[in-house]
Point group: C2
Chain length 336, copies 2
């Protein structure tokens, strides 16, 4: 490819992947530590925005090679990798870290921490169906069950205590995004600080189980991916993230058929306690605010001329307004 | 992935792929026209900067789906696709267009022309060895032989007549890149207009056979890819492009061991005529200027803040200076 600067117009239909280039020689030497047979192909793939990912074809099959870029703390990598190993060992279809001949899961390549995980078949759904919401609910319940005896722990760096800081990062410029947003968020923060539940069942949560992180073959979940926000928090908070990410229609109406399907399937795997059901509306407000705030900070910090267009924070403000209006867990499809 | 704006610092180690997003439903409907069995996975891949490419895993195997973006003229697509089909039928390992059930090679997906080609194993070499240069030379000769009876034809849009226009696009701003560059290029253009050969053997050439467009398994060529600059021109010009792209060391010294290996292997497949040998130094100058000029235009037209860094035009100015100093085809490793 002789000339690589392209004046690409930005639109919602464009996605970007920036990745670290790896030379064939570096890669061959890295792979020599694995029991893979010959290298047959490798291609940079656009999966995950945080890290650089490559599809690796070796005689042993297809794998994903991940180079961890700056946004992932190297100290957290053992948590993520041992979690995936733990979950895969309990039958969850998630990427399984592959060990080197000397049983290491984490190495270094092109100056970055690097790991290889198994390749999972499946295609993520852009507009999940009711059946897919049900399948996701069951997979989430299975994830929480499989994680119950996981010993690792990692605080949720993007929970209640972090939100005022994110809000401060945005500052008054939030008004540029929507007039009145500053007082709206301030009031919501005050409400959540008063109302955030205590003492709910805790465990290992995915914390980012959006449709792009779930692979399907037809209506069957074939894999959960991208565990790089996983942490220890209320299990019901993970459910709240999924209700927000899976059950709103493109016009931001809440599809209660989807939420009922999701929640009922979840409960076939793990029964919700009454206090979790009661807390879900507040958890849903908190989860909506969390994504509104991180998107807001990204939105206000795009370098001029950048080719990436950040996701619209108002999509999560709209979800939050829905939750503010709802009166009871029943509005989310929960049965008391 | 909840937040997608990343402040990624630009460096030579970063490569970018922007691609058109395809929904799972659009894709399923597009694939229904093919005899592929079920869709098992698809991932956007960073291959080719001109187009959007996806790795497609179906029951029938691995394939590449390409969406043609603006820089490729839709009217040229039948030429490129029938050329690949022609070459593959003659045993060249290049991507082979796959036909729909109704025998079409070209369709539309996500508002763009789209085609599916076979997936080729292999890894491109960042620093080609002498053996790899020899293998490339033989593959180029094979390509020229296989293309000899191809009926399609497409003018080379980036040959001699186009260079003054490219130069005009850069204009006086070329001086920002290197002082004296404007008069240097003007003098070279005048020389090439006087000295450009006539009447050399013509045929279908790849015209962009850089190391990223050649896949190897070890020292064996396993595939030639990215035919989207292919056109009808002097066959020896293709060889000149390869001498420039494969035989210079990172310090821009010319490695005559590599060029001898490349040329000799080429001639095992297709013997050069004496007039081609004699013309090669001028063709090498022209080819160096062509890449210097397209890079120069890209370099001067990067949108502010863009994440892509264009390739350095001076890398080809340095090659051109080498060729200006050389006195005879012997300096390129050619035997008279």
């Amino acid at each position: 490819m002789p000339s690589s600067a392209r004046k690409t117009r930005l639109s919602r239909d464009n996605i970007m992947a920036v990745y670290t280039e790896i030379s064939d020689l570096e890669l061959e030497s890295f792979l020599a530590d694995y029991d893979f047979g010959k290298l047959l192909a490798f291609k940079g793939i656009a999966e995950g925005v945080e890290n650089s990912n490559f599809l690796l074809q070796v005689e042993a099959g297809l794998f994903i090679l991940t180079l961890y870029e700056k946004r992932v703390a190297a100290a957290d990598l053992p948590f993520f990798l041992t979690l995936m190993e733990h979950l895969a060992a309990r039958g969850l279809t998630c990427p399984q870290p592959v060990k080197t001949k000397s049983a290491k899961m984490l190495g270094r390549l092109a100056g970055r921490p690097a790991a290889i995980v198994t390749f999972l078949e499946g295609v993520s759904s852009r507009r999940p169906s009711v059946r897919q919401c049900a399948a996701l609910g069951a997979a989430l319940g299975q994830l929480h069950r499989a994680g119950a005896d996981f010993r690792g722990s990692r605080p949720n760096a993007l929970s209640l205590p972090a939100w005022p800081q994110l809000f401060a990062l945005a500052g008054d410029r939030a008004e540029e995004v929507q007039t009145g947003l500053v007082s709206f968020v301030a009031a919501e923060l005050a409400f959540l600080e008063r109302s955030w539940p205590r003492g709910l069942p805790r465990g290992t949560i995915h914390a980012d189980l959006f449709p792009d992180n779930v692979l399907f073959l037809g209506d069957k979940v074939s894999g959960l991916i991208d565990f790089y926000f996983a942490c220890t928090d209320f299990l019901a908070y993970d459910l709240a993230v999924c209700l927000n990410a899976w059950c709103f229609e493109p016009d931001f109406s809440f599809n209660v058929t989807k939420s009922i399907a999701l929640i009922e399937a979840y409960q076939t795997m793990r029964k919700l306690a009454p206090e979790e059901i009661e807390a879900l509306p507040v958890l849903a407000r908190g989860s909506a605010l969390r994504f509104a705030l991180t998107r807001l900070v990204d939105w206000l910090n795009v370098p001029p001329g950048a080719l990436v267009r950040p996701k619209d924070p108002l999509e999560y403000v709209k979800r939050l307004r829905f939750h503010q209006r709802s009166k009871s867990p029943r509005d989310l499809g929960l049965k008391l």
